[in-house]
Amino acid sequence: MAITFNVNGEPREVDVDPNTPLLWVLRDELGLTGTKFGCGVAQCGACTVFVDGMPQRSCVTPVELINGSDITTIEGVEGPEASAIQKAWVEIDVPQCGYCQSGQIMSAVALLRDISDPTDEDIDGAMTGNICRCATYVRIRQAIKNAAAELKG
């Protein structure tokens, strides 16, 4: 079944089993491997993308449900929040292995778009769905705060 949607601003059409999770369409069909597979059951957050601006776990999002939607992945995320988050991540060396960081960054960008000056509780609420096995959490928290401060100017 042909399904059409935009990915990072570009129109795409795929002909796959409509139940295929968006994750595998992005990775296997479209070659966008920045979105990561971690668990397949929305437990780890590594596959987080934006669907019409809202963060979603692409590993449990059947592609048929996003017909006509705008998808943003780590490769295409942009805007002031994204720039601030990516910069803050690099500045204090948040990543260790880096594998989960696509999902962490997407969740963090979504948080800052929602709450410009998040408290620790806001950060917990937005980021608890993203596991980092290297456990870079202390730096993730700090980088979000740094990015928020930069956006405030």
Partner: protein
């Protein structure tokens, strides 16, 4: 036509395509002749020299300078978050006096005869390769200087390499490294005695912590390529259902329904080798499809009858009880001095405790995954491999092709922690590529596959007994450890732990007690046991450091003061036979027993530093407590203070952790800090929420809902890392960094819970024991 869509791969191809190699055509034997490996008086090799294929320190292999001045540095160790792709090239670049912005990192394929040992495990990369990396950088700097001196026809002593150019001070002439590349290539590699290393005051990058991770941009923009991201245009995708019980195999199967799933191309039965399975694939049924999802759907439709084999009765509850029973009986004595039994009899007080630690999974967020293809009898593999040579050696055997015809390309690793030291998943990819006439096949392990078929950290019961005198000081110490051994994956019938397992904080317990005996009780493995970050240091440190705190309580003493008293005065300990009763001499992480003797002064120092930094002894509100623990592992010294808060419902939060580390010279301090931060939280995870249990031979936790990991909300809110350096000369031996942060955390945490609540917890994880 196969095209490669992978930046890492294009880097790798550069290894054999570099246009200008420094010293092209010069003899490598000049340098080799200058090498003096660190051998002991007995001729025994230690450290990097004792590893398979040893150390290679040939700048012609590791460094090249292009005419545009780009310096390419090969990283032959695998990057899994420890930052080695940054730190090791940084060392070479520093000695080369290269401008870091003009350095390009090239990842080496698995080729130990060329690069020396590549097994990225055991917290060894910087420990073994720091000095060789320095010497290579310095040798290349000398060659550039010689080339410039020759060009200008001046003595080499008059020129100096500074920040990517060579300068002749007397005349002010300068030549960039790029301009010198060709002529430097004609210089011979200087012998070791002609290489002059920088003084630490001259370091540009080493010890400074100003270099960010080389992969940061790629990681934060989704461009970084891990093994699972490897793609080819004509690639097929596979998942495998493996025998649910270790040692099991397929009795019969029906693939009719699986083959009806659109996209499924082929179903392949893989042989299940009988245990011990070593690093071999577990066998099972593979479904090969045009995409991962189709392969997973096809796999769900397989109808398989299993022969579960001899481990079908492995159940955690029973095994735990058995280990506990074994721990009450005398075991094999592995270290003994004094007379423990006599001292116990006359002791004023006897304290006994048993500690339990369950299996623990690696849970790398990138699950095992690899791509293989076979073209014209040559096999290429891409994967997140900690030990690419292990993969290569086994691929040669598995496929029956020549060593030269197997290429193992190392991608970034999305976490390793010891799991990816075992290349079973890369071998699976090769078998499946062979099954489809050599087409590239990617094998992806789902999370369920990963947790059900890991090489788990061992499970252990640690039995401790101590006799205290009237002052509360121990006069006798008995430790009996029972745990299935990693060596059970290599040979049948293993019942005892190997010297390397006993040597991780058990026989090398550095306490000052007059009578001591350490025993090892029998335990047989019924699943694959493997290295997990810090390995058996985890149960050993948990038990010993919990027990020390229990003794302090019994003696009515402050735990920190009591711990320091038990560590005793500063001294250097070298374990020797016959006090040590293992088959082999003291393992000591493969390091020289004198150079790397146990230094109780350093253990004291980290303990004192962390106590002071955490304001040990401060008043805390009700429900809060501090716990302390210290441990030596991977020839590094760490001590931690954990602060916990326990609410009325038994819910634990961790406001703060302090950890002090003495790993000798600090090469990239910021990476040491980040390794400690991660290790602290992994320690919290295994102490509080994570475990793997078995029922009827099968793992009960199939995803992250069952195998829980600490998330940001439960992670310590603050982690303070205190780096303790012994000196600034950079000549002291280096300790490990990747693993030593983990062992002190679990005991410090349960000691803190005791301080907060009066509740002594001796089994991990503590999650379900807090409510009552």
């Amino acid at each position: 036509m196969t095209t490669v869509a992978n930046d890492v791969l294009s880097d790798i191809t550069n290894v054999s395509r570099r246009a200008f190699t420094l010293g092209l055509g010069a003899s490598v034997f000049v340098l080799a002749a200058g090498l003096k490996p660190s051998f002991g008086a007995d001729g025994q090799a230690y450290g990097g020299d004792a590893m398979p294929h040893g150390l290679k320190e040939d700048p012609l292999v590791f460094l090249s300078v292009a005419e545009d001045g780009t310096v390419s540095i090969i990283c032959h160790r695998s990057e899994m978050g420890q930052g080695i792709r940054t730190s090791l090239p940084m060392v070479m670049a520093d000695e080369l006096d290269a401008d870091w912005s003009r350095v390009k990192i090239v990842q080496a394929p698995g080729d130990e005869p060329t690069y020396g040992n590549q097994n990225t495990d055991g917290s060894r990369s910087m420990r073994h390769h720091f000095q060789p990396a320095r010497r290579m950088g310095a040798a290349a700097r000398r060659m550039l200087e010689e080339a410039a001196a020759k060009t200008w026809n001046v003595p080499v002593e008059e020129v100096e390499a500074v920040n990517h150019e060579v300068i002749h001070k007397a005349t002010g002439r300068k030549l960039g490294y790029g301009a010198l590349a060709k002529s430097a290539a004609e210089m011979s590699v200087p012998p070791r005695e002609k290489i002059s290393l920088k003084k630490p005051s001259q370091f540009r990058y080493i010890g400074k912590g100003k270099i960010g991770l080389v992969d940061n941009f790629d990681i934060t923009t989704g461009r970084a390529k891990y093994g699972i991201d490897t793609r080819f245009d004509d690639m097929l995708y596979a998942v495998i259902v493996r025998p649910p019980v270790y040692g099991g195999k397929v009795a019969k199967f029906d693939a009719t329904e699986a083959l009806k799933v659109p996209g499924v191309v082929k179903v392949v039965e893989l042989e299940s080798p009988p245990p011990p399975s070593e690093f071999q694939p577990l066998g099972g049924i593979a479904v090969i499809a045009s995409n991962t999802w189709a392969a997973i759907q096809g796999r769900d439709k397989l109808d398989i009858t299993w022969d579960h084999g001899p481990n079908a009765s492995y159940s955690t509850d029973i095994y735990h009880a058995d280990m506990r029973a074994t721990a009450q009986k005398p075991g094999k004595v592995v270290r003994s001095y004094g007379d423990v039994d006599a001292a116990m009899k006359t002791a004023a007080k006897r304290i006994t405790a048993d500690y339990y630690i369950p299996h623990h999974a690696h849970g790398t967020i990138e699950p095992p995954a690899a791509v293989a293809r076979i073209v014209d009898g040559k096999c290429d593999v891409w994967g997140p491999l900690q030990d690419p040579q292990a993969a290569r050696d086994r691929l040669v055997k598995l496929l029956g092709i020549a060593y030269e015809d197997v290429t193992v390309n190392v991608t970034l690793l999305g976490g390793g922690f010891g799991r990816k030291s075992k290349p079973d998943f890369a071998l699976e990819a090769a078998l499946l590529s062979k099954a489809v006439d050599g087409r590239p096949v990617k094998v992806t392990w789902t999370r369920e596959d990963d947790l059900m078929h890991d090489y788990l950290n061992t499970t252990a019961v640690e039995h401790l007994e101590a006799g205290l005198d009237a002052d509360g000081k121990p006069v006798a110490w008995l430790h009996r450890s029972v745990a299935p051994s990693i060596t059970s994956i290599f040979k049948p019938g293993v019942k005892y732990e190997a010297p390397f397992e006993l040597g991780m904080g058990l026989v090398d317990v550095p306490l000052d007690v007059p009578n001591l005996r350490v025993e090892n009780g029998e335990a047989e493995a019924h699943t694959r046991i493997g290295w997990f970050r810090s390995v058996t240091n985890v149960p050993h440190a948990f038990a010993i450091q919990s027990f020390v705190a229990e003794l302090a309580t019994a003696a009515g003493r402050d735990p920190k003061d009591y711990l320091l008293e038990l560590i005793g005065p500063p001294r250097r300990i070298t374990l020797k036979l016959p006090e040590l009763k293992t088959d082999d001499p003291w393992w000591n992480y493969g390091e020289h027993p004198e150079t790397y003797a146990i230094d109780t002064g350093r253990l004291r120092r980290v303990t004192e530093v962390v106590a002071q930094a955490s304001k040990w002894g401060r008043e805390l509100p009700k429900g809060r407590g501090l716990g302390i623990a210290a441990h030596r592992s991977f020839v590094t010294y760490t001590a931690a203070v954990v602060e916990v808060e326990v609410d009325g419902g038994g819910r634990i939060t961790i406001p703060r952790v302090d950890i002090a580390v003495d790993c000798g010279p600090q090469i990239n301090p910021e990476r040491i800090r980040s390794q400690m931060e991660g290790a602290v939280i992994q320690g919290v995870s295994l102490a509080t929420v994570s475990n793997i249990t078995f029922r009827d031979g099968q793992v009960e936790q199939t995803n992250f809902d069952g195998f829980e990991l600490t998330r940001i909300d439960a992670a310590p809110r603050e982690i303070h890392v205190h780096l303790v350096a012994p000196d600034e000369t950079y000549e002291e031996p280096l300790g490990g960094v990747g693993e030593p942060g983990v062992p002190p955390i679990a005991p410090a945490l349960v000691n803190a819970v005791f301080a907060a609540t009066g509740k002594r917890l001796r089994e991990l994880p503590i999650r379900d024991q807090m409510a009552s």
